[in-house]
Structure formats: C-alpha cells, structure tokens
C-alpha cells in the first residue's frame, strides 16, 4: 500500500521567509541597489551572464542579489528565466576584429600592430588587500591619452592570428555561413561539432574549465600553448529584420576573446603550422576565455591525430560535466527526501545481514561438529 506523506508546507513557507530575512540582513544597513551590483560587482555579473547564457546586466544583478551572492544559484535563476523568453532570431556573427578595445595583450609578439593595451587589469597588482577598500575614498577617473584618427576597426587592431596566417604559419579560419547547432534546442549527440562544443564551453562552469585547462598544461593532453592574443571590449550586435529587409544594430555587448596558439602539427600539403584554440565569453573574463581556448584545442585531438588519453580531450566527459546548473541539480538533489529509496536499501541490507548471520552460524556449527 502506498501512503502519501504530507507535511512540510508550513516549514517551507517559514524557511523561505527566513531566507528573505537573511538575504536582506541588518535593516539598518541600506539595501544593495542593482546599479551598485552591476557597477561595482561587475565581474560577478559578467560571470552570471556568461554561464547563465543570457546577456542582460540588470537581470544578472537581480539574480546576484536574490541569490545572496551565490553565483551558481544566480546562474540557475538566469537559465530558468531565459527559457521563458520567446526567441526572436539570431544575430549576425559578432565581428571581434572590429571590437572597441578595452584591453588587448599578446604574449607572442611584443610589437604587435596596434600595441599592447593593458586596460583595467588585475595583472601586476600586488594582491595585497587595500585598506582603502574599508571606506569610500575618492577615486580618480581613468587617465586619457589622445587617439589619433580612427578609434576602432580591423586596421587598428589586427588579430594576431591573421598576422601569423599572412606567413602561412598557422591554421587559418575556414570561413563559412553554415547554420550552427544549438544545444538549447536539440539534444547533444557525440561526436559533437566544434560549433556545439564552443557553445557548451561558452556557458560552461569557469572553475571546471579552469581546472581542465590547467590539466592540459600539466601534461594531461599537452598542447604547449601561447596566448596569441586576449582582447576585451564592446562589439555591436546586428540582426536581420525580415520586416525591413536589412540588418539593424540593436546595441553593443562586452565580450572577451582569446586566441590560443598551440603546438604545430601537420606535414600535409600545407606543411607544419601552429594550431589554435578559441575562447569567446560574454563580459570581461579572460580566465574563462583562456580556459575555454585551452579546452577547445584539447578537444580537437581527432583533427590532429592526437591520442585521446586525458580528460580534457574527452568530448563526452567535458561536455557532459561542464554545465554547473546540470551538475548542481544532480549533486544537490541528493539532499531531497529519499525516504522510500533508502527504506528499500535498508530492507535489502537487513536481509543480507540475516543471511550472512545464518550462514556464519551454520559454518560455526559444522566446524564444531568436525
């Protein structure tokens, strides 16, 4: 007989009320505004947008506030929200070559055309906690230096990969306008195309990808990488409007792009040349973009006849586990009631122990008789 056990509604209601209270904290302290979160915790907001896979800074700030700063919880909220939105279409692929640059560095060429632009980076800080952070001290605006002529465009900041490609030293991009797969619409099958892999990595967990990328550096799927270039900045989004018959700009978003240059391969007609890994992420996150490019390169093992031996090269392993909403759902569901499952395990275990005890006493009786 199945007996439904009810109860808990009142406790759940009170728990959520207590959550709201704890979330708000000391009422004598002003509540956080969305502007404060989006403006002063902008990299947390960027991470929520990237892994929530929805670019909307205000909404991501709301999610950060609602989740008390638990970013995976915030990402979960954004993912749930995005499923409620009707899809109006797809943008034209963003032109990262025409990015309005906020930071751009190359570890391969000191004198890269367009120059090394450090931008707002944590690099070269001493990682000492600044006592000023305990107060609200005045902060100087960024310095400015005159830019002559055109302030953006392909010519101003050529991609480092295009420079190498000019000499035939690196595998080129293969231009195409093929319709990409979409893992939010179709179940992922294996082997997955590079388009689907990049979509999964772009929304994948930063920590997971960081560790996998690190593992490739330590020898688990070695790729011997150099950062050809990391660039952060704003790109315009354009969408074709069938009603109008032409494409319009809808606004600009911030993205981070990483071109990882890896060990050379090949002896075919093109001769040996560097291979590449690619990372592109919503917001400012070069750690994520770099990790993504390392894992992208590792996952291309088959293309370069590399032995698939390391976790980072195992596409099914990486793609099935890089999503932190799926991962947290499955791990955290373990704390929900499993009373009936566990009762069944207990009954089984008790039966096994009875059998074991019976068998033991039978053995003891026989040994005593002998």
């Amino acid at each position: 007989m199945y007996v439904a056990v009810k109860g808990g509604e009142a406790a759940i209601e009170k728990a959520h009320r207590l959550l709201a209270d704890r979330r708000r904290g000391d009422r004598s302290v002003p509540a956080l505004s969305l502007d404060q979160i989006a403006g002063q915790l902008s990299l947390a907001v960027d991470r929520v947008m990237a892994e929530g896979s929805l670019y909307d800074p205000e909404l991501a700030a709301m999610a950060v506030r609602q989740s008390r700063g638990d970013l995976i919880e915030a990402i979960f909220l954004i993912r749930a929200y995005r499923t409620t939105l009707p899809r109006f279409g797809a943008t034209r692929p963003v032109e990262t070559g025409a990015m309005r640059i906020e930071r751009r560095v190359s570890a391969t060429y000191k004198d890269i055309p367009g120059g090394q632009l450090l931008g707002p980076t944590f690099d070269y800080t001493h990682r000492l906690i600044d006592p000023d952070m305990a107060g609200d001290h005045p902060v100087e605006p960024g310095a400015r230096r005159d830019v002559s002529g055109d302030v953006a465009g392909d010519a101003a900041y050529p991609r480092v990969t295009d420079i190498l490609n000019g000499e035939g030293l690196i595998e080129p991009d293969v231009a195409s306008d093929a319709e990409p797969g979409d893992l939010t619409r179709d179940p992922t099958g294996f082997p997955a195309g590079r388009d689907l892999r990049l979509q999964a990595l772009a929304r994948g967990d930063e920590g997971f990808l960081l560790s996998l990328g690190y593992s490739t550096q330590r020898g688990y799927g070695r790729t011997h990488p150099f950062v050809g270039e990391v660039r952060i900045g704003l790109v315009d989004l354009e969408i074709d409007l069938p009603e109008l018959g032409f494409a319009v700009a809808i606004g600009a978003i911030r993205v981070t792009e990483c071109q990882m240059v890896s060990q050379f391969k090949g002896g075919g007609e093109d001769g040996p040349r560097f291979t590449r890994g690619y990372g592109l992420v919503f917001g400012q996150s070069e750690r994520k973009a770099m990790s993504m490019s390392l894992v992208d390169r590792a996952l291309r093992a088959d293309e370069f006849d590399e032995n698939r031996a390391a976790p980072a090269q195992d596409e099914e392993f990486v793609l099935s586990h890089c999503d932190n909403v799926e991962a947290t759902g499955f791990v955290e569901h373990l704390k929900l009631p499993h009373y009936v499952d566990f009762q069944a395990e207990l009954d089984l275990l008790r039966m096994l122990r009875r059998e074991h005890a019976a068998a033991s006493s039978e053995t003891a009786r026989q040994e005593a008789a002998e």
Binding site: S53, L54, E58, R82, L85, P86, R87, F88, G89, A90, T91, P93, V94, T96, I101, R103, K110, Q116, L117, L118, P120, A143, R144, R145, D146, V147, A152, R159, T161, D162, D173, S176, D177, A178, E179, P180, G181, R194, D195, L196, L198, Q199, A202, L237, I239, L241, L244, G245, F246, V248, A249, I250, G251, A252, I253, V255, Q259, Y278, L280, F282
Partner: protein, 153 residues
C-alpha cells in the same frame, strides 16, 4: 515607399536610436511626440531573446555564443507608415519610442526633425562615449623602451 536612398537613412537612424540611453531618448522623443501624429501598436512591445553568434576562431563558421534579452515593437501611423524597432535589453518604452520615430521618419515633414533632434545627438553621444573609452584604453598602452647596458657601450 522605400527607395534605395531611404534604406541607409532608415538603418542609420535605427542604429543610432538603439545606441541612445533610454532616458535621453525619452526626453527627445517627448518633445516630438507632443505634436506628431500618434501611432497604434501593431505588435508588442514585447520582450524576448536573440541568439548571439560568434565565429569559430573569430573568422570561421558561426557558433551560438549565448542569448541576449531584447525588446521589439511595431507600430503604425494613421497615414499607414509602419515603424519597427528591436533594441537590446528589456525596455518596453524604449522599443515603442524607437518604432514610433521609425514610422514618423518615413514622413518627409517629420524626418528632418528626427534627424536633428534624435539621430544627430544619438550619433554624437555614441561617438563621444567611444572616444572616451578609446582614450582611457590608450592611456594604458605599453610604450616599450630598451636600456643600453654598460657592457654594450
């Protein structure tokens, strides 16, 4: 109604208005809407998403990077002109204003005012924002120099 020359003009206006901060647009729109013919909604304004695409390696085949929230609207003037808008973010009023201005912009008597009061200022604001960002970034440029060491003299 749409001639060859009008497409670039209309695109230029829609692009500029999408980039304009909503509060400034509302101010400019308010001044025009006081005397301009009103529009009736045809579709929306409604919030949705567009899939943002990148290219593999920056220049290869497209892939889906993630979505962005957008708002779109379509309105119609009594005289028949239909205006469309799609803007980044979740701002129903901004999409409605842009669609209305897009419809008005197709009428010769309103187009110059929209150009002067909305599109021109939007382009200027955008150019100024771009310049400031570019100059701030430029200030962080690394100017390499080499030191002549003693033994090389």
């Amino acid at each position: 109604m749409t001639t060859e020359q009008q497409i670039p003009d209309r695109k230029r206006a829609l692009d500029a208005m999408a980039s304009m901060p909503a509060d400034i647009l509302a101010e400019r729109y308010g001044a025009i809407a006081r005397t301009a013919p009103s529009a009736i909604p045809v579709r929306g304004p409604e919030i949705g998403a567009v899939m943002v695409r990148g290219r593999i390696g920056g220049g290869g085949a497209p892939f889906n990077l993630g979505e962005a929230s957008v708002t779109r609207a379509t309105v119609k003037l009594d005289s028949g002109e239909v205006g469309h808008a799609i803007v980044l973010g979740r701002d129903l009023e901004k999409a409605r204003m842009v669609a209305h201005l897009d419809a008005l912009g197709q009428r010769a008597e309103w187009q110059p005012m929209i150009e002067t009061d909305v599109v021109g200022p939007a382009l200027m604001l955008d150019a100024e924002a771009r310049r400031q960002r570019a100059e701030e970034t430029e200030a962080t440029r690394v100017d390499f120099f080499t030191l002549v060491r003693g033994e090389d003299r």
